[in-house]
Symmetry: D2
Subunit: 335 residues, 4 copies
């Protein structure tokens, strides 16, 4: 097994999907041990570090990569299995950013109101207890919350020669901000360009569904990832599989369109897997769908459509590669 360890220097960070030269060429089957900086570039370290003075949104959400996968061609399916995600710092940061987030007006949902005040929260990581400390600032309320590490951003170079900011999810993946990208999950992404050129970043030590204020508990992350390639079979929207569920992530606006995109893809997927016609698959999905929101804050919103494997007949997707990668993952150490 090829193993690649990589901690990028800041000048190696990528801020776009597409448009960045690959940092490495890797072969399918490679195990990656990657360090990624947090969405703030590590610049929010205390509660007095406010976004407007410390963050330039054009250079937010740095990505580790992109990686050129040998043999990957347009129409193929890139397979990323997340073996392990471990916080790489002893603290995570979150913040309200002027005119950014779900419960404020933004540059697009524009109003004439004043922005919400800025505030930065620092969450201390207790690695032993696997908790994060939330400390209110307007009162002395404090709380410990479980660490649930995930990656907010994973994607490939877009189609049609586009280069897209790492802040916006779309068909190529990107900043989907779904808690479903966690250890044990396998993500399937349609390849648009030779080499796929995927990158990852935006570690979250935990995040609520919707990521209401626009930022999770953002933290540098050590990620252990197995990379595989399936020839052909490129999904329209990113798909995720874990031991319990099959998922599709749609990203668009308004929010119902993000939902529709993922649902329609899942109808097709169920149809393919079980030999159902469109109406039967639609009916079945209507009764078994789980739909946790991912983000309602980025320029495209993201919605996950999930179905529980336990409700369905046994089946294999993408040749059973998830099971294979799970087994393989058990043979490698995490972080």
């Amino acid at each position: 097994m090829d193993i690649l360890e990589f901690t990028p220097e800041p000048e190696q960070y990528a801020y776009t999907f597409g448009g960045a030269a690959p940092t490495h060429r890797i072969r399918p089957g490679t195990l990656l041990r990657l360090w990624s900086d947090d969405a703030f570039g590590g610049r929010l370290r205390t509660i007095t570090d406010l976004p407007s003075s410390h963050i330039d949104m054009r250079f937010s959400n740095p990505q580790t990569g992109p990686f050129y996968v040998e043999g990957a061609e347009p129409g193929d399916t890139l397979v990323l299995h997340f073996v392990d995600l471990t916080p790489a710092r002893s603290w995570g940061a979150s913040a309200t950013i002027p005119f950014f987030g779900g419960l404020t007006s933004t540059d697009r949902t524009a109003t004439l109101q004043a922005p919400l005040p800025e505030r930065t929260w620092i969450y201390e990581v207790d690695s032993a207890r696997k908790t994060l400390s939330f400390q209110a600032q307007g009162s002395d309320f404090g709380l410990e919350l479980p660490i649930e590490p995930m990656l907010g951003t994973v994607g490939v170079a877009p189609a049609a020669g586009e280069v897209r900011t790492s802040l916006v999810p779309d068909k190529f993946g990107g900043n989907m901000d779904t808690p479903q990208i966690r250890p044990g999950a396998t993500c399937y992404l349609g390849v648009n360009v030779e080499g796929a050129l995927f990158s990852v970043g935006d570690g979250h030590y935990r995040q609520g569904e919707g990521e209401s204020c626009g930022t999770a508990v953002e933290g540098a992350m050590n990620s252990t990832i197995l990379v595989e390639l399936v020839k052909g079979g490129a999904p329209t929207w990113p798909r995720i599989e874990d031991d319990g569920h099959l998922m599709v992530v749609g990203s668009s606006r308004p929010l119902e369109d993000a939902w529709r995109a993922g649902q329609v893809d899942m109808v097709g997927w169920l149809g393919d897997l079980f030999g159902l016609d469109t109406l039967d698959a639609y009916q079945l999905l209507s009764q078994i769908s789980e739909v946790p929101l991912a983000n309602v804050v980025d320029t495209n919103y993201s919605v996950v459509t999930k179905v529980a494997k336990s409700l369905l007949p046994a089946t294999q997707v993408y040749g059973g590669i998830h099971r294979h990668l799970r087994d393989l993952a058990a043979t490698v150490s995490g972080s």
Copy 2:
């Protein structure tokens, strides 16, 4: 304890919130044992019963009630605790209806495309195994799914003299179509008129989040409900509490607005409960929110914002009435 058993005759069905004379006057503390017809009025009984020939959308989703609650005044909080929901028929029905549903154009998301074909599915109930049988029609695929009974519709008379169809959810509740209205849940509704005038209906033997095709496994239901009243404290949007979670249901369009409404209400609720200022409550919610969709098919869409009690300090809402009703429920038989 007052106990009222009621199975309405078809001519007693209500099709609106507001505008219908109460079928009964009850006192807070009453235990209701209600039968409600399904959203199709029981008219889809075989797979050859198609909606266009059997259903009049103006007389769909019949409600049992409304009930006049003595002492209920505008600004009060109606409390409905769902002790038990048990299927009242041996089969449930679902259907695709022309230009109705989430993955089709509708009278509002209007396009020039032909409608999807109509189809009716009948799910046989196996009471012993607590399962429903799904049978595909385009193939011989069949599946057993767990029964998970819920009520799609619960609401009070609207404010400002409005009378609203039982098909559309809003601040008064109504056709929210969330699986969270299930046995063990307590629903809090703001009272708009004297007597509250609440009704329930739209039993679902199970439903996926989003109710994609527009109909769940629709079935007549026997509901055991404890009714209470809290003076004052009317929530802006319907709230739900169960043993594990606090919830708010927002209903609007586009879908992000349904989400925003529920989230803003939850921010205020968390602030009130734990003495958090707005920004701290927003931050906390951002990291702990769960957001399962309810429906993306009605004229208003519904989204649930949930927070797990297990992540929060112990607290009591509405004077601990949910715990009280849970205890009381344990003393009464279900169906």
Copy 3:
């Protein structure tokens, strides 16, 4: 010709479509001379009269009517020709209202931001010059604007037994807030209940497209209206005809759905008028459609789809009744 003059007393105001007893029964062919109060009920008279202390949103937008039209049955088309609209006061009022309007968060597009400040503007009417005076309050800027009288609200009782606030437009018309309802226009509304039960109100001395701040130059209005009835032919959405254009008004959320509804109806209308199949009518509309926004502030937004008669072959709609009413209007005095 029957002529009815009516100035309602405040206790006769209607605040809903449906649910109000008719003030009068009239025959088709009647000429109405109506006075209607402004949307604020005349309570904003100086710039120190602020909405939060002077306005109760539950009793806003008072309607004159409803009128029971003899012979009107569900499925018929109510025809209202606006002969003349003349300001009935020497001043109009506009205001910003907390959490109401297009460029602020609202109860539905909810955010955590503080509301915009309240402010009331009074526009003096110069009847001779037919102008309104705008006077800024944060500076000494002043401007004269032409009076362009219109009615924001015209509608019938809704279908399915609903009663809807006069603040929200829908298929029954209501608070569409389009400048197209002006002298010389004929409005076609589908009848849902016996007698149609139409009412009018919400006079605007002028309004921009979209009604951004949520209020136009609101003013009491003297309206001269010819009432006719066409048996059958009920349009799905309100239609308007004037000498230059055919129009449909769609009302929904999000804004694209309001647009879609009106466009689809216009495709059908063009198809009917000129014998075009759906694709040809779609194509033609794509090249000739005018789409001025009406309102982006009510719970449903409204969008007008217009086509210029000058681009189309000569045709008659609804039996040429608009031409007939225009001719008839020339024989009666305005106000």
Copy 4:
């Protein structure tokens, strides 16, 4: 005056904003005489040329350019004055494209319905009469429509290193598809990269507001354009000025967000021009705004906010450059 005439070869077409090497370097003050191909690349020539067999959406909407403007730096304002637009072919084409357009489901507003049928329409140009012939295909209906030439696409390279398809409008301009980009109009675009790197294309011989079916009467165009540069003053969203109006074009989803973005920018613009505070400018805009839709078909929708100069005190924007360019244009021949 520098004059540049340019007719690109197909291999010189650009399909993105950003990411393409400039075809020319020009100085401010240059007069461009450009030929641009139509959005279909000229491949729809008869009604039997259907999009699915003749069009690759990844290589649609070819642009002429980009042009590197000497001295243009981020934060500057690129000024493009459209002196003349003249059809460069004797026919224009329009078409319905599967799952593309405003009155069909799309890849984002996804449904399970079958696509609308494809159809191509060819409009013959009568240069003498300045008309286009529309010929229905489902009947023998025919019509002559006035030619009203416009450019659907004008934009600069995006910010933050993005490369965006020429099909999607945003803050950088792009495929706004508004009839306001016509002879006599001046467009102001914020510069994001050195040289601005603007391009134009997507000539329409006429287009309805909204561009319902997704395509206008698409035609190759000869464009005469004066290029100027204003140091600083970059607008957030594209602005347009003509002899009668000031305009802002917002582009986003849902449609209300496109509207909000343009309205908020116009409130600020009016405030700057006339010394109005935010509330006064909001109030004034509410009473004078015109809002013609541009497109409701692209991945971002576009909405124009217009105000008539005739309603406002005399003022100059961008130093009166529009007047200057109009005068200069009168000295150069059109096509």
